[in-house]
């Protein structure tokens, strides 16, 4: 299995938006790959480009530059029928189960839609598959003819999951799928996602701002700051040995439930700077207590230890 192609590989992926004030660098030079059956967590604060990254990979947004491979096949510039074929393999679960499901369709119709659109199945096959999918994600028989407004957030998110899995995709972008849910329901949905991954060999890119959720679900984690990946490594390593100053600050800002060990908080000054026409140097430098002149130069991603990548020129000195 070792030499199998990763399910998703991206290289130098960029997505810029033009705004009245200049180019907004939402995703800037991101490179990674995800092996089959694994989960890559992508964390960062609002506006860091993590959702844009997911959407660009699955061609919901058109990339500005860079390459994307799906199971070894270059899909960077596919169009028309090829794009449709690629999209069947790549699906997304959205953050807000209230706005991502058509309010005027029954639950059943929502789950059937991708099956109908694909034109691969006969009517009775669609019926069977839709039933199977709803069973898979745990939507009760009696709710199948209901409308989204009759369902709570957790159940709606299950509908979103069933719809994403309808065409048996290989790769699923989970874009903050549990952020809108209460903790008790959040745990139900996280367990469901994990079970589905095990049963179907799914590969996930899991976008979230919640560090405890990302720690639980991911094999590897990317930390993003203003469009760039500042640190990438296996999940356990990140929490044990964070190296980038931003990662350290991010981890220390999480309010811990351990009341006996009030944590040493490192409070960051200032807020995210603008991603519009950013300066070439380190984007975190303005808030970083270690920043020096060297940080004004473009930063390269270095492999500090096997599998642990950091984009910081002072990583050696400060750790």
């Amino acid at each position: 299995m070792a030499n199998q192609e990763p399910v998703i590989r991206i290289e130098g992926l960029k997505k810029y938006f033009s705004t009245a004030r200049g180019l907004l660098h939402a995703v800037d030079d991101v490179t990674f790959s995800i092996e089959k059956g694994k989960t890559l967590g992508v964390v960062g604060e609002s506006g860091c480009g993590k959702s844009t990254l997911g959407r660009t990979i699955i061609h919901l947004l058109e990339k500005t530059d860079g390459k994307i491979w799906l199971e070894g096949q270059d899909i960077s510039d596919v169009k028309g029928r090829e794009l449709r074929k690629a999209r069947e393999q790549m699906q997304i679960i959205f953050q807000d189960p209230y706005s991502s499901i058509d309010p005027r369709k029954t639950i059943e119709a929502t789950v059937r839609e991708p099956l109908v659109v694909s034109r691969k199945f006969k009517k009775n096959e669609i019926d069977d598959k839709a039933q199977e999918l709803m069973e898979l994600v745990g939507i009760d028989e009696r709710l199948r003819r209901s409308y989204p407004h009759e369902l709570d957030g957790g159940r709606r998110q299950r509908v979103g999951i069933a719809r994403a899995l309808a065409l048996n995709p290989k790769f699923v972008v989970c874009d903050e799928p549990v952020s809108a849910l209460d903790v008790s329901i959040q745990a139900q949905v996280l367990n469901l996602l994990k079970r589905l991954q095990m049963d179907r060999g799914l590969t996930y890119m899991f976008v979230t701002h919640d560090m405890s959720v990302v720690r639980h679900i991911s094999d590897d984690i990317c930390v993003m700051y203003l469009g760039q990946v500042v640190e990438k490594c296996p999940s356990k390593e990140l929490f044990k040995n964070p190296l980038h100053p931003y990662t350290k600050a991010l981890l220390s800002a999480i309010p811990s439930t351990d009341i006996d060990h009030p944590f040493q908080r490192e409070i960051l000054q200032g807020e995210l700077t603008s991603p519009i026409n950013p300066k070439p140097g380190c984007r975190f430098a303005a808030r970083c207590k270690y920043a020096t002149e060297d940080c004004q130069q473009p930063q390269v991603q270095e492999e500090v230890s096997p599998g642990h990548f950091v984009r910081c020129c002072r990583v050696g000195e400060i750790n």
Binding site: E45, S46, D152, G153, G154, D182, V183, S184, I185, Q186, A187, Q188, L190, N191, K194, H209, M211, S212, V213, R215, H216, I217, K236, F239, A249, L250, A253, I254, P255, S256, T257, D258, I259, P262, R265, I267, L268, E271, L272
Partner: protein, 330 residues
């Protein structure tokens, strides 16, 4: 938790709030009692729809005129019965003695008024001082929450989310309130900004000896900021004690379930432990304990009648008739 609840600064006793719709009654708050002292912070923890915000709005008496009714209970501030005050006296209290930080800074501010004026407005309403003096005080408030005074004339859309929340906090604190009701003050913010805002709130509370009711669903925030904790489920307080009591000896099955459902930051677990099922429909609450349909310990007794409050081994309140069994198996 203060032993003498009779002399507490803010007291809520046996509060019942209902919302009326065309064809049913929503039982939002069902017999809630709370007490809060100056300089202390009480965390009110629960999930969406548990009645947390309704309690805060009842204290300020800003529930909607039509459709909502406080059908039972007392709310006293410094031995003054707030529910019996005429409206014009209540207006003296709002924003002055009691103020509220609203959850969503994007909608709590007036988009077409300069932020400085929004702060000055509260000061002017409650103090008989000149226009210039108001403006000076408003600028001081801005500085206190870490915003330079040259931004006084800017509008809300010119600020980031974290800064808007700090402006909301500045408005809430402008008249040095004795009681601060903070409704999910950091939920809409990123963690690094949340850390800044929580520190700010904590400093200001210490400086002004404010009594604070902090509404949240985040156990981490409670752990960092609160002295006491009340866990609320379906409009009833199911467990109430000091932070140490609740975090070290959670006793109610719902509280235990809540802690269990949070992914751990220190241990690796293959599967999470969700609370099965869903919170009940507040217009159709189950008989007896509202948690019984989801509770692994539920028996006939739990489904019959309302559950009284029991004292746990360490002396905090828990509304569960099976605390001994829960403790044994917990």
């Amino acid at each position: 938790m203060s032993e003498n609840t009779n002399n507490a600064f803010l007291k809520v006793e046996d509060l019942v709030v209902e919302y009326f719709t065309d064809d049913n009654v929503v039982h939002a708050v069902n017999g809630v009692s709370l007490h809060l002292d100056r300089g202390k912070t009480l965390g009110l923890v629960g999930e969406t729809g548990a009645g947390k915000t309704t309690i805060a709005k009842s204290i300020l008496r800003i529930l909607p005129d039509v459709g909502a009714r406080i059908t039972q209970g007392n709310i006293t501030l410094d031995n003054q019965d707030l529910l019996k005050l005429p409206e014009h006296e209540m207006r003296e209290i709002r924003g002055n003695k009691i103020s509220m930080i609203f959850q969503d800074p994007m909608t709590a501010l007036n988009p077409v008024e300069r932020v400085g004026d929004q702060i000055a407005e509260v000061i002017r309403l409650h103090n008989n001082i000149s226009h210039e003096e108001c403006e000076k005080r408003a600028k001081e408030m801005l500085a206190m929450v870490g915003i330079t005074e040259d931004r006084y004339t800017e509008y809300p859309h010119q600020f980031s989310g974290g800064m808007k929340q700090r402006i909301v906090i500045a408005i809430a604190l402008a008249c040095n309130p004795q009681v601060l009701l903070a409704d999910e003050p950091t939920t809409a913010l990123d963690v690094t900004i949340q850390a800044q805002v929580l520190d700010l709130i904590r400093d200001l509370r210490n400086q002004f000896n404010t009594a604070m009711l902090l509404i949240t669903h985040d156990m981490g925030v409670v752990a960092q900021v609160c002295d006491d904790v009340a866990v609320i489920y379906a409009g009833s307080i199911v467990e109430y004690g000091t932070k140490e009591q609740i975090f070290h000896h959670p006793t109610h099955p719902y509280t235990i379930g809540l802690f269990g459902a949070i992914p751990s930051m220190s241990e690796d677990e293959e599967w999470l432990h969700p609370i099965e099922g869903l919170p009940p429909d507040p217009s159709d609450l189950p008989q007896g304990c509202p948690f019984n349909p989801r509770c692994p310990y539920a028996t006939e007794e739990c489904r019959k009648a309302a559950i009284p409050v029991f004292k746990t081994a360490d002396g905090h309140d828990c509304r569960c008739c099976h605390i001994d069994q829960v403790k044994k198996e917990g």
